[in-house]
């Protein structure tokens, strides 16, 4: 798997991925802390999805708008997911302000790539679902699939931006031993 990821990264012009070395405990804990908000956002999306599957909360009947607790939980979790993913990206940017190790950056690049593929696939699904006539009827408008995939695309897309920045901070080369900036820092510290 690592070989495949390295080959794809080399094809994309991304150099210096290090997925073979294990993360240190400090790096692992830092990654878990930084990923907390994006994970909560994605979990909340699934809470909304479960509400719809069991209580049919996202079928908009134009005559009878639902106002039950499952609908309120669905709305709250969806809105919270959108907001938390934005804050999560801000946290990832702040996390990238300090020094990022190459191993942490490599995993961040993998996460960014996976989230980017997910977001693009979901956006494509939104377009095809909205063009589909079976989602529409005379009295109700069932954008169930479209709404779900659209939110997932937004959350995955904005999280991918944050992880890509984190990856850039570690892979940009200023921390490599022997680079001019690293040499100057070492001289200044001495």
């Amino acid at each position: 798997m690592n070989t495949l990821i390295n080959r794809i990264a080399r094809r994309l012009g991304i150099r210096g991925l290090d997925l073979d070395t294990n993360l240190t405990i400090a790096d692992r804990d830092r990654m878990l802390r930084l990923s907390a908000l994006p994970s909560v956002a994605i979990t909340l999306l699934f809470v909304g999805l479960v509400m719809d599957i069991f209580f049919n909360t996202r079928t908009f009947d134009l005559q009878h708008l639902p106002d039950k607790w499952p609908t309120r939980i669905d709305n709250a979790s969806s809105d919270a997911a959108t907001l938390l993913s934005t804050i999560g990206t801000a946290v990832l940017f702040i996390g990238g302000a300090s020094r990022v190790s190459r191993q942490l950056a490599s995993w961040a690049a993998v996460f960014a790539g996976a989230l980017l593929i997910t977001a693009t696939a979901c956006a494509g699904f939104v377009i095809f679902t909205d063009l589909d006539t079976s989602a529409y009827s005379a009295s109700s408008y069932d954008r169930f699939y479209s709404v779900t995939w659209e939110q997932l695309a937004e959350v995955a897309g904005i999280s991918a931006i944050g992880y890509a920045f984190l990856a850039y901070r570690g892979l940009s080369g200023s921390h490599q031993p022997g680079s001019r900036i690293a040499e100057r820092r070492r001289r200044d510290a001495a």
Partner: protein, 187 residues
């Protein structure tokens, strides 16, 4: 030989760049760099095209000026383009960020800076238009701003996010060290 339009544009950009504190532009793309720029702009271009389709279907479609959720083709195209652009914008921005992880040549960075400026201007103009429509009482019915304004708002959203992505790409390209000049052999 008279300069062609591209040369004139490049000359103007060279003159404008120092006004924004940007120096050392290089707009002469090689074929590989041009292909790379096209490849990384595929998703952003799709998002912009979807907004334009949404705009055209609200302005020219049979249900001009309102969100139409019916089975007919114009309603479906409008819905797909509007919500598709909404869903694709952040993925497109993320793709530009991801493309900036590798080495970015100065030429690609220079064109990315131009794209970022253009997108920011479009975004600002669209946002200003939305503000004026919101202030105009004739464009509001039942407390809701007309759907045309929503499409302008969407255009501002899409171009604004993409401008962030291209600005990051420009930063990566223009902050790279310039190739060393050869001053000939020292005596």
């Amino acid at each position: 030989m008279p300069p062609n339009r591209l040369d004139t544009l490049i000359e103007r950009l060279h003159r404008l760049a120092p006004l924004f504190g940007i120096r050392r532009f290089d707009f002469h793309l090689s074929i590989e760099e041009r292909d790379r720029l096209i490849a990384l702009s595929l998703l952003p271009a799709t998002a912009v095209v979807l907004v334009i389709v949404a705009f055209l279907s609200t302005e020219l479609g049979p249900h001009s000026g309102r969100l139409n959720l019916t089975v007919d083709w114009s309603g479906r195209v409008l819905s797909a383009a509007y919500y598709g652009s909404q869903a694709l914008t952040l993925a497109a921005t993320a793709s530009v960020f991801f493309a900036a992880l590798g080495r970015v040549p100065r030429t690609v960075g220079s064109w990315a800076a131009v794209a970022a400026c253009a997108l920011a201007v479009v975004s600002f103009a669209s946002a200003a238009f939305v503000v004026f429509v919101a202030l105009d009482s004739s464009d509001i019915f039942g407390g809701v701003v007309r759907y045309n304004a929503r499409v302008w708002e969407q255009l501002a959203y899409v171009t604004g996010h993409l401008a962030i992505g291209y600005a990051f790409l420009a930063y990566r390209g223009l902050s790279a060290p310039a190739p060393r000049r050869s001053y000939g052999r020292r005596r």
